[in-house]
Structure formats: C-alpha cells, structure tokens
Symmetry: C5
Subunit: 262 residues, 5 copies
Amino acid sequence: MDKASLIGVLIGSICLGIVFFEVSHGHFMMFFSLEGVLMVGGGSISVTFMALPMHAMKQVPGYIKKFMFQKGKSAVEVVQTMSMLGEKARRDGILALEPEIEKLQGTDPFLASGLRMAVDGVDPDGIESTLRMEIMAMTERHKAGKKFFDLIKLYGPGYGLVGTLVGQVGMFGNLATADIGTLGHMLAVAVVATLYGAIVANAIAGPIGDKLGIRSSEEILNREMALQAVLSIQAGDNPRVTLDRMLAFIPAVQRKTLKVAA
Amino acid sequence: MDKASLIGVLIGSICLGIVFFEVSHGHFMMFFSLEGVLMVGGGSISVTFMALPMHAMKQVPGYIKKFMFQKGKSAVEVVQTMSMLGEKARRDGILALEPEIEKLQGTDPFLASGLRMAVDGVDPDGIESTLRMEIMAMTERHKAGKKFFDLIKLYGPGYGLVGTLVGQVGMFGNLATADIGTLGHMLAVAVVATLYGAIVANAIAGPIGDKLGIRSSEEILNREMALQAVLSIQAGDNPRVTLDRMLAFIPAVQRKTLKVAA
Amino acid sequence: MDKASLIGVLIGSICLGIVFFEVSHGHFMMFFSLEGVLMVGGGSISVTFMALPMHAMKQVPGYIKKFMFQKGKSAVEVVQTMSMLGEKARRDGILALEPEIEKLQGTDPFLASGLRMAVDGVDPDGIESTLRMEIMAMTERHKAGKKFFDLIKLYGPGYGLVGTLVGQVGMFGNLATADIGTLGHMLAVAVVATLYGAIVANAIAGPIGDKLGIRSSEEILNREMALQAVLSIQAGDNPRVTLDRMLAFIPAVQRKTLKVAA
Amino acid sequence: MDKASLIGVLIGSICLGIVFFEVSHGHFMMFFSLEGVLMVGGGSISVTFMALPMHAMKQVPGYIKKFMFQKGKSAVEVVQTMSMLGEKARRDGILALEPEIEKLQGTDPFLASGLRMAVDGVDPDGIESTLRMEIMAMTERHKAGKKFFDLIKLYGPGYGLVGTLVGQVGMFGNLATADIGTLGHMLAVAVVATLYGAIVANAIAGPIGDKLGIRSSEEILNREMALQAVLSIQAGDNPRVTLDRMLAFIPAVQRKTLKVAA
Amino acid sequence: MDKASLIGVLIGSICLGIVFFEVSHGHFMMFFSLEGVLMVGGGSISVTFMALPMHAMKQVPGYIKKFMFQKGKSAVEVVQTMSMLGEKARRDGILALEPEIEKLQGTDPFLASGLRMAVDGVDPDGIESTLRMEIMAMTERHKAGKKFFDLIKLYGPGYGLVGTLVGQVGMFGNLATADIGTLGHMLAVAVVATLYGAIVANAIAGPIGDKLGIRSSEEILNREMALQAVLSIQAGDNPRVTLDRMLAFIPAVQRKTLKVAA
C-alpha cells in the first residue's frame, strides 16, 4: 500500500468535493455535461488506443495498481540484503549463496539471475553487460507505462477544449434567438468540458504519471546498487568495500543507521 | 491490421459525432466553415510542403498505412526466430543457416544481412558496426515520418488561430452596423477555425505521431535484440546464453512463456 | 529549385488570400494596421539584431535562398559518386583519384579534402578526426542559420501580443466616450497585431526553420556517408564493402535500385 | 543565512502587499476565496503526495530550510582547503593527512572519505569511481528535492484554473437570475483561484526550485574539484599542478586572488 | 561595441515609441501603472534574488555590459594568431614562443596558459584535459549569466499576469457600482501589467539571453580551435596541418580569404 498516493487522492477528492458543493449548493448536476464526458472521457480513451500498441493498453490496469500499491524494496533493504549476502560469501565461499538464490528467485528475479551468473563463474564483463541490458529494457517498459498517463495529461485538456469550442459555436449560433438564461446555461455546459480536461490532467493523470516516473528511477537505482554488489561479491571484495560501493547511492541520513549496523 | 488504432479511431469518431449532433440538433452545417477548411486544411498542407523535402512528402501515404496496419514482428517472435536459428547453428554448424538466410531475405532483410555477414566470417566488430549503423539510419527515417504529423499537430492549431483572428477582425469591423444575430454567426464561423485546429491536433495528428514514435522504438528494440543474437550465434555461444541476452529486452510476463518453451 | 517549398508557399498564400477576401469582401485595408506592422515587423527585426551577432545577420539572405533553392546532392548521388570513386581506386590504385579530386574541388570541397588526405596517405584516425570536426563545425553554422527563423517564430507572436495589448489599453481608456463602431474598429486594429504574429510564426518563420533543420540533418548524413566511404577506399576495401557501409544510411526503397545498379 | 533568498522574498512580499493594498484600498478580504485556497493549496498538497513517494515528502521541511539558509562551502574555500592539504601532503608525506581527515569527517564527509581512500592506498581508478558514484547519487537526491517545487509550479496554476472554471460554471448558470453585482462578485471569486495559482507558481515554488537547482550544480562542481584534488594529491603532484586542476573550475576574477595567495 | 545589439535596441525602442504615441496621441501616462511597475519590475528583481545565489547577482552589471559591448576575438582572428604562432614555432623552435606568451598573458590568458604548458613540455593529454576542463568551467559560468535573463523572461510575464488578475478582481468587485468609464480605466490599468510582462520578456530579457547564449557558443568554439592549434604546435606539425585543424571550425566564405593569406 502506497500511503502517500492514498493521502494525495483523498486530499484532492475532498478539496474538489467541497468546492463543487460550495459553488453549486449541492446541485452537483450543474457540473455534469454529456458533451464533456464524451469529449474528455471518450477522447482520452480514443487517443490512448490510437497512440499505444494493443499490448500496452492491456497493461493499463497494472499501471494503476502500481500507482496505488507500492512494489519493490527500499534502497535500504537492498543494501541490507546485499550486505548479508556479501558477508556469507566472504565467510563460506561464493557457492554458499546457492540456497539464497533459490529463495530470491520468486521475490527478486533480477538479483537471483545476477548471483546465479556470479556463482557459475561468468566473467564480470558478461554479468555487467547482461544485467545492465536488463536494466535498460526495464527502463523502456516503464517509459511505456508512464506514456499512457502522459497521453491523457496531454490530450485530455485538448479534447476538453474541443468540447468547449463546439458548445460555443452552438451558443454563438443562437445569440439572436435565445434568452440570456439559455445562453448562460449553454456557456456553462461548454465550459464544463474544459473543466473536465483540467481535472483529468492536473488532478489525475499528471501526478500518477509523475509517481510512476519517480518509482521507475528508484527501481533503476536499486538494481544499479544490486549490480555493483554482485560484481563486488564475485570479486571477493571485503564486505566493507561492497557496502561502500552501494552506500554512495542512498541519502546521507539513512546511511548513518546502516554504517552502525554494518 | 492494428486493432488498437482502429478502435481508437472509431471511439473518437463516435464521440465527436454524438457531441456534434447533440449541440447542432442535426444541423451539422453550423460546424462547416470554408475559412476553417482553408486555414487548417490548406495551412497544414502548406506547412508540411514548406517544412519537409519533396521525397518525404511522397512517403506520407506510407506513414498513414503504417499507422492503421501493424508491420514487423513482435519481440516474442524475434526471440523465437533467433532461438531456432541459434539451436540450428549450434547443432549443424553456422553454415547450416545459409538456406534460412535465403528465406529471411524477403521478410527481414536486416536479419538476413546480419546472418550473411556472420556466415561469411566477417569479424564481430564489423558486423556490429554495420548493423548498428543501419539501426541508426532507420531511426533517422522514422524521425522524418513522425515529423510530418508533428508538423500538423504544431501548425494546425496555429493556422486555426489565424482563421479565428481574421474572422474576429471582420466581426469587430462590423460591430456598429450588424445586428446581434449576424455578429453571433460571424463569431461562430470564426471559432470553428480554432475548433478544426484543436481536432486536427488532438484527435488526429497528435496520436498518429505518437504511435509512429512508439512503433519506431519497438522496431529499434527488435533489431537490437536480433543484433545481439547474431553476435552470440557467430561466437558459438550456448543457445541459452543467446536467449538470455535477448530476454533482457522483453517484459517479464512474456518471458516466462518463452523460458518454458526454450 | 526546391519544388516542395514553392508548392507550400503557393498553397499557403492562396488559402490566406481567399480567406482574407471572403471576410473583407475585398476591403483588404481592414487587415492593415501600422501598429501591427511596426510591432511584428519592426519587433522581429529588433529581436534578431539583439539576439544574433552581426556576421550572422549578414547571412540571412543566404538562408532564405537556401530555403527556396535546393542545394547539395541527394544521398543516392553521394552513394553513386563514392561507388564510382571506389571502383576506380580499386582498379587503378588510389593515386588515380588525383584528377577526380581536382574536379570535386569546386562542387564538393568536403569530399575533395577527404580524398586529398587519403591520397596523401594521412592516417585514418587523422582523416576521420579532421572530417568529423568539419561536420561538427558545419552543424554549428547550420544551427546559427536556423536560429534566425526560430527567433522570429518565438518573438514575432510575443511582439504581436504587445501590439494587441497596447491597442486594448487605448480602447479601454476610451470605453466611456467612444461609440460602439469606434470601439469595434479599435479592437479590430488591436487584434490585427496578434494576427500578424500568428501568421509570421505559423505560416512563414516556423516552416522555413523546420526545413532548414531537416536540410541540415540530410547534409550531415551525406557527409557522414562520404566520410565512411573515404576511409573504406583508403583501406583498399572491396567496393561492395564500401557500398554496404554507405547503404546503411539510405532508405530501403532507394537501396534496391542501387544494389541492382552496383 | 542566504541573504539573496531573504532579499528576494522581502521584495516580492512588499511589492505584492502594496499592489493588493492599492487595488483593494485595504479590503484585503476581497482577495480571499475559500475555493481558491482549497484548489491551489489543497490541490498542490494532493498532487505532491500523489506524485512523490512518502520518504521524499518527509524531506520537504529540509528543502525549504536549504532554500533559506546557505549550506556547503564556496568554490574558493574548497580550493583553499585542498591547496593547504596538498602542501601538507607534499611536505610531510600523505600519511600526515590522517589528523585532517578526522577533522573533516564531520564537516565534509565526501572529502574525508576521498582522502581516507587516498591515504589507504586505494588505486586512483577505485577512488575516482567511488567518488564519482557518490556525486551521481547526490545529483539524484537533489533532483528529487527540486521535483517537489517543480510539481507545485506545474500543477498549482492547473488547480487554480480548475477553481476558476468551477466558479465560472456557477456564474454562467445564474446568468439569468442574478444581478450584475452578484455576477461580478462571483467572477471575482472565480478569478482569485487563478491568481493564487499564478502567485504560487511565479513568486514561490518557481524561484525556490530554480535556486535549489543552481545550488545543486554548485555542490556538484565543488565535489568535482575536490575529487580532482584528491587524485592529484595521491599522485604526489606538485601543489601548483593540483591548484591548476581546480582553478579551471572557478571564475577568472576570483582566480587572481587565489593565484597571488598560492 | 556590438553594433548589432545597438541597432536592435534602437529599432525596438523606435517601433514601441511610435506605437505608444499613435495609440495614446502623446498621453503616454495612460501606459503607466504603478501596479504594473511593482509587479513586473519588483517581481522580476524578487525572483532573480530568490533563484540565483548572491555572487551571481553581483555579476549582473557585467552581463549587461557584455550584451552591449563585444568581447573576445572573432574565429578568423584566432586562426590568424595561431597560424602566426605555428609558423614561428616551426621556424625558431617552440621556445621562441616565450615572448609571445608574455604578451598574450593579458589579452588571452586561456591561450597563454595552453602555450605555457606546451613550452614547458607538459604531455599532450595533460594539456588537453586541463584546457578542456577550463572550457567546461567557462561554459558553466556562461550558463549562470544567461540564467539571469532567462529567469526574467520566464517570470516577468507571470508576475504581469498576477498584476492583471489582481486588477481584474478589483474591477469585478466594483461591477455593480462603478460607471463604464471607471471600469474601462480599471481594466486598462490591469492590462498594462500584462503589457509590461510581454515587453520585458519579448523585447528585453529574451533577446539579451539569446545573444549571451550565442556569444558563449562562439567563445567555446574559439577556445576549442585554440586548443587544437596548441596541441598541433607542440607536436611540431606542419603549419598547414595546424591551419586545417582549425579551419574546420569556421564558415566556408571566410575560409577562402584565409587560405589565400596562408
């Protein structure tokens, strides 16, 4: 569970709810517009289908799950796991990692495959290039996930503008015949489409895409740290050297706790 | 056939159709404006001719076809083809790939030329540099294709604004003499130009350009994978190593299926 | 003569002409505003002088000429020239290129200097670094040329906005005393400045800058190909190898024609 | 204490205060809008929680402190410290730096760890890679800090627009029934949300983020200089050479003072 | 004296002057607004203090001087100086450059330090890395200078918008009680703040920042040329080779003149 996401969604919903209530005095229907829903909702769906390949569209539920529920370990956990493995390899020889690899297979296949290669005696260049390729490929996949929300953030307001312009054309065409109340209502309905676009972009798709981007960077950092540690363990480095190579990747405050622990 | 593109186009068309109908009560002509068509349509054509060289303009029909109909293989197919070739080379020697190269000549000239060099004993550096150059050149050509739609996305709304401003100047010039109905009609016609620009950018050229960009990235990834596999096959690597080098490039879920198959 | 540029300019001019006529019924003077000309025209000139060094300003007529009249060879021509030179060097020795270099001195000084170094026996690293430097320097110069139009595209509408705001301030100051016709006329004049800015950016400077940018990329590609070929010729490579190194840079369709020809 | 930040905040506050007073004649409440506060304030908080991981949110007070109170040394101080250390190492041997390292442990752990490695005889490549990794990791952390303010700069005005649109929809819906004073008041309240967004983005979050970015660049530069000096000291270079390697990183004016001092 | 900057400033001032006169019929005070001055002027100062460190703020007068008065040599001058030095070193030995270095110390310390190292027999790698570091550090400093104007270009219009919104809130609050003339005047005053922002961004800070950026690129190019020449002189290359290495960096037209001269 990603508490920050949950808190953010709650705060945003409550603020929007109060403002809608304040302005409409409870007549929420004044903020409903079929045109707006069709343009911003339908338009966003249309655009993502047009812009993304089918296999990316099928992964969308996964992206949303990823936003709400934290996955992967924190940098500190990675350091602790790797320190433990380093100690063990130093004490009992690198082959002693075999049972650990079995356990990691399910929870961290990236690390497991790196250690497997280290134990099998693959040369360091080979390990580094294979793992780094995997990191690059993961980066590519994350980019595709982020793209979905970036597309909605970009085109949602665009479609909202289309809805508003259509409504305005309709209103201007009736300028001579309609009374002021009707014109006002038409204008309100037209503006709602832009409103939907602004909410979708600023309150939903924008921050979700940003969080996915930051998560991706963190995961890349964690894997980079694991890669450094695997190489260090295989080289038979002193566990302190292994620790130092990873420590460089995490913030100073957390580092102190770890150094004491090491 | 690219189903996602088709679905996207259908959803977008239906949503726009309903909204146009709802607002105009079937009088679709209120959304027609000769000025809008000339500015956004003619302007977009003018801009692409001005900005692109003639040979790029001639490839436009091809770009649109590429958007609607999927081309190239999926990453999984590439892995399967390469695994099969790797097995064969390992079993019967690299020369056994000769007949395969003949077959690939028509469907995948990039791979065929890579294998041809591997069989002819060109040194790995030579193969890598030639194939990587070809990938770079393909990237350049894809960029040119995407540029066409990016230009329309960028300048279409700009020309739409020109149309609206021209219409507004005309309207303001008649502010004293014309009645409110005429002014409203003039304003509606003026706004239609901006509407056309917003539709062209957000519902058409934008997402098409995005899809071409994503397709390009996928094709580059596929070729990168094929390049790695060709080098691995020539080096006489164990097919499992070859597979591992490619597997790093595809998502985890699909990977499992392949590992079982391998 | 660059036909695409000419076609683009003609289409744009005709569309704008029809729209201006339609709206003004031939009273084109309603689209003239001294303020607009001074702001968008004078402002653009002011900005380019302020932003660019004097020697860049002196090259502006050359940039515009470059936009209208195609310069340089197509990629296919480069391949044909280089293939011919490669064949000759292979058959008669590299010294046989001496007379060709004389001929190329006027039409393609870049290639001539590369071949001159190859014939003089300069080492490949030296040739590559000198030619690559020249390519980089050319890139720098092209960027400066493109910058002129990018500046107008960026600041033209900005100055147009200034003109419109000045006009609006004047109009609002007279809101109490002037009649509706006068106010409408003042507003029309004010809006014309924004209109000029939108036309300058979207119909003129924008696409010209884009074409200069694409031309620049093409010229860099051509020179990169020539560089590869010179190195290949000097190394005494088989002309087919030379051809392959260059072919990677041009689109598949044109490639077939060439392979047949080779 | 960062005087420039303080001066900037004071000037901005005074200017805004005078303008608010001038326009409202002291009735500051006309610039208060609950909708605006909820949208821009609540919305910004919501967005940062949604976009950033929890551990980044916890560091926000630290970011704000960093903006108001200067941390780290100036480039000149770094040069002076390193020159002093270089002289000492040259005169008394590199082991003489041991007591200095103890002192630096608290004030500059980066430099201390670099010198520790140099004294321990770690090979130059090892020192460079470890320190450079630490610089990269610091860069990552700084980016996360800057991101917080960039998010507010980006989404604050977006939420402000949402608030204004909601208010406008409410106003247009009452166009027929409300009197002009009420409509004016509703419009004023609506516009205030956009005003809050513009202030948050332009007067607060924008410049704070920019300063954090510049501070980050400076700190990277300082560390890069220290890294060069550590390598130079370990190599037993003449202190003048050490100085020259660092001097290249600081502006010419300050350099003169230092050269005289050296 | 940078003539282009002077011409640009004059043209811009004259055009703005005429337009202001035309619209106000000489009543320039209608374009004065205390709110506008406080917001755009005070706001820009506030933002630069908040975003930049104090030492950067102190260099602002220097930046403005740099914009109006050309500094540094043209590329052609650099080539001529370096050719002369190359000839001399070739004829009389590299030690003959000693007196030249003395002379250059004041006018071109970068070149002087490069030649000094060449004469002292520092190895080419050492010279290249030291000089290249100095070029990188200069690039960093130039970026900081450009940043000042980029900040004003970015936040000036933002603060202008704040001023206009504040004015509009004031006006809408008085919609029921004030007469049309007063409202018009209030609106005019409000719009003036946006006008100031547009002028500051488009006519002043924008182009100054652009010129500083281009000047920076030119200076980097000149130093890169000087670096190449120093290395070539030290290697005892034929002056023609030295010339060729530099010539690659300057435009073809100027090159011809030089080749004749050489």
